[in-house]
């Protein structure tokens, strides 16, 4: 059952990707401008490849825009017909960004568990046909800790990889 008409790949969005590539090329070229051309030996300096990449990406950006305006990208596969679910994406983004912001403060286990719960919420809502109850929150929290804690122990205790903890004990 589909509430809307099938989504089409908008040529504007495709052109926007091309514009993005073009902007990246410009930024790279700007950067290349400030890299000294001092060739050292051999005649190819550290600014040579940056210029090659900037110019080539610029060309690609131009071709992508032209393609989007003319025929649209070909071979787009099975993507058509689905509308993006931004609310779920926001949950997942919040999870990842909070994880990045908090990991050194509340430790790996809790930070990752938080990321898990928020991301799972987004994914659950994306799938859900009915309202989800409080039970699903509890399940997610338990599963999150059941994954995050053993992962933390395995990597820090067995493999000696440094991950941040909340306490000095090495277990949390």
């Amino acid at each position: 059952m589909q509430a809307h008409a099938p989504a089409q790949h908008s040529p504007y969005l495709q052109a926007l990707v091309g514009v993005g590539v073009l902007l990246l090329a410009l930024a790279l070229a700007l950067g290349a401008w400030f890299i000294p051309s001092d060739a050292g030996y051999g005649g190819v300096g550290p600014n040579f490849l940056p210029w090659v990449v900037s110019i080539a990406l610029g060309g690609c950006g131009f071709l992508l825009i032209r393609k989007a305006r003319r025929s649209g990208y070909l071979h787009m596969g099975d993507h058509d017909g689905e509308h993006p679910y931004w609310a779920g994406f926001a949950w997942m983004s919040a999870g990842m960004l909070l994880n990045a912001a908090l990991i050194t403060r509340i430790g790996f286990v809790f930070s990752c568990a938080l990321c898990f719960v928020l991301a799972a919420r987004g994914l659950r809502n994306a799938q859900a046909t009915a309202r989800l109850g409080a039970k699903s929150w509890v399940i997610d929290c338990v599963v999150a800790l059941l994954i995050a804690a053993p992962v933390y122990w395995m990597f820090t205790k067995f493999l000696g990889i440094n991950l941040p903890g909340l306490t000095e004990s090495g277990w949390l």
Binding site: V17, G20, L24, L28, I35, D38, G40, G42, G43, V44, P46, L49, P50, V53, A56, L57, C60, L63, L64, K67, Y73, H75, M76, D78, H79, E82, P84, Y85, W86, W91, M92, G95, M96, L97, N99, A100, I103, T104, F108, C112, C115, F116, V117, A119, A120, R121, L123, A126, D140, V143, A144, I147, A148, V151, F155, L159, G160, I161, L163, P164
Partner: protein, 508 residues
């Protein structure tokens, strides 16, 4: 290298790989590889990338054996998913899915799984023999190559990975140059010049491979799932007993061997990609089948259509280790990350690898033989266990992947900045995934880019500042001609084959 010498080295390799600790690493790698192969949304490249931080702690031989197990295991596991699940998986197993799915639908899932697993074993083992015999020879030859030739070989790899293999040349090239740009960030190897760091100290050492790989694959995959796949319902085919009848064997064996013969040469050349050999094998099997059997293709599912491509796939993946180990040229996402793993140990794969790190290389090769046997056992009698992984609900699966992504991204440098960067790279990956940009060129460009730049500079300085050096040396000129041909021939063929048709339709 003498044959006896190879034999001696290989035995030495078995002695190293056969220690209990290394056997354990191989086993864990194979099991983990099978698991990530079975689980949708995570592949060998992602898995190896997430585990790259262990290179800071675990000894080189052990971790390379471990990574090789993952690399291999994922190929076995991937076919299970593509046979049982009605969703197109990664390209490597797309062909397997075509016939395998049909077989499963008509109640022959077990036979399809068996021919895939045994075919993978046969092809993998034969291809490992090829690696054993030819890698030292190629290495010996490669020692004679100078910077101009190396640069040309890398150019060839760039061209084939980006412009030839994908569906869109422009998108492939864009991906390649984005990768090259990512490789530029940080301190220039030769002059020490700092490039594109924007004053961020974390970027001095460059962008970590882990971040790019995990961001582009795992994070982008999770984002894509939440945005677009919420309402997608996977249906699973029914399992049946994993056995093959006498007729299945009779039909599979020649298909395995043909698949191996088609797949092995494709891995050896620095061009990469399993799409071409698997499709070629599929087309061959379809053509060779006659009467009733040909009618099975696309309807009930023909066992040859699983056996051949699956063997071709594994043969290609295995022999792809030859260019990786002897030339230091990766041609796929996973081999690019394996190269990154070597670099983390300060080891540069290339012709010298067989002399400087002989024990590591031979242990790695020996572990391929061992891994193949382990995987056969893991995938035939125990396949039912892996199939249970398909029942993991999507929300928990992707959210769990994000936890492992955090381990990989944070564990490498202990920097929370990298986690923000990971999110940003995930966004880029999402756009690429949505608009069908290939990812392999990004990884290959990023890892091979700095090496190619160094070779370019050395080559030019050999030519005393002149780029003519590339056409003055016969070998480098020859590779240059191949590069140009690879770029032009498909287009010319297209142009010429279109013209007569246009003329004909014009006359009509």
């Amino acid at each position: 290298m003498e044959t006896m010498d190879i034999w001696g080295q290989l035995l030495q390799g078995f002695a190293t790989a056969g220690t209990p600790v290394n056997l354990l690493w191989a086993f864990v790698g194979c099991a983990l590889g099978t698991a990530v192969g079975v689980l949708p949304g995570i592949g060998p490249a992602t898995a190896v990338a997430m585990l790259l931080p262990i290179t800071t702690q675990v000894e080189a031989t052990a971790s390379m054996i471990f990574f090789a197990g993952i690399y291999y295991g994922a190929m076995y596991g991937g076919s299970t998913t593509s046979i049982l699940l009605n969703t197109p998986g990664e390209t490597a197993t797309m062909v397997t899915a075509m016939e395998g799915n049909k077989m499963a639908k008509s109640g022959r899932a077990g036979a399809a799984l068996a021919t895939a697993a045994i075919g993978s074993f046969v092809a993998g083992s034969i291809a490992t023999v090829i690696v054993t015999l030819f890698a030292p020879v190629v290495a010996e030859f490669a020692v004679k190559l100078g910077p101009p030739e190396y640069f040309m070989l890398m150019l060839l790899a760039f061209t084939t990975v980006s412009a030839v293999l994908g569906q869109s040349t422009v998108r492939g090239l864009t991906a390649l140059f984005v990768g090259l740009a990512a490789g530029l960030v940080g301190m220039d190897q030769i002059t020490g010049q700092v490039r594109y760091t924007g004053g961020v100290p974390e970027l001095m050492d460059g962008v970590e491979i882990v971040l790019v790989a995990v961001g582009l694959f795992a994070v982008a995959e999770a984002m894509h799932a939440v945005l677009f796949e919420g309402k997608t319902v996977d249906s699973e085919n029914r399992m049946s007993r994993v056995t093959m009848t006498a007729s299945d064997w009779k039909r599979s064996i020649p298909a395995w061997l043909r698949g191996t013969a088609i797949g092995a040469p494709f891995g050896c050349i620095p061009a990469g990609g399993t799409e071409i050999p698997t499709f070629l094998s599929y087309a061959t099997e379809k053509k060779l089948a006659s009467g009733e059997r040909q009618a099975e293709f696309g309807t009930k599912g023909a066992i040859e259509g699983v056996a051949g491509p699956e063997a071709a796939n594994n043969a290609t993946v295995t022999t792809a280790l030859i260019p990786l180990l002897t030339l230091g040229i990766p041609t796929s996402n996973t081999t690019a990350i394996l190269l990154g793993a070597f670099q983390n140990y300060g080891i540069q794969p290339g012709p010298q690898l067989f002399t400087t790190s002989a024990s590591l290389v031979w242990a790695l090769i020996a572990s391929l033989y061992i891994g193949n046997v382990m995987l056969l056992v893991l995938n035939l009698p125990m396949v039912g266990l892996w199939v249970k992984l398909l029942k993991v609900p999507k929300p928990q699966l992707y959210a769990g992947i994000l936890i492992f992504a955090t381990v990989g991204a944070y564990g490498m440098r202990q920097s929370a900045f990298d986690l923000f960067l990971l999110y940003g790279i995930g966004l880029v990956g999402l756009v690429m995934r949505r608009f069908n940009f290939p990812t392999a060129p990004v990884l290959v460009g990023m890892i091979l880019g700095p090496l190619a730049e160094a070779q370019l500079r050395n080559a030019i300085s050999i030519g005393e500042g002149s780029a003519l050096i590339f056409v003055q040396r016969p070998m480098s000129l020859a590779i240059l001609v191949v590069v140009v041909a690879v770029l032009l021939v498909p287009r010319l063929v297209q142009m010429f084959s279109r013209k007569p048709m246009e003329a004909a339709s014009g006359n009509a």
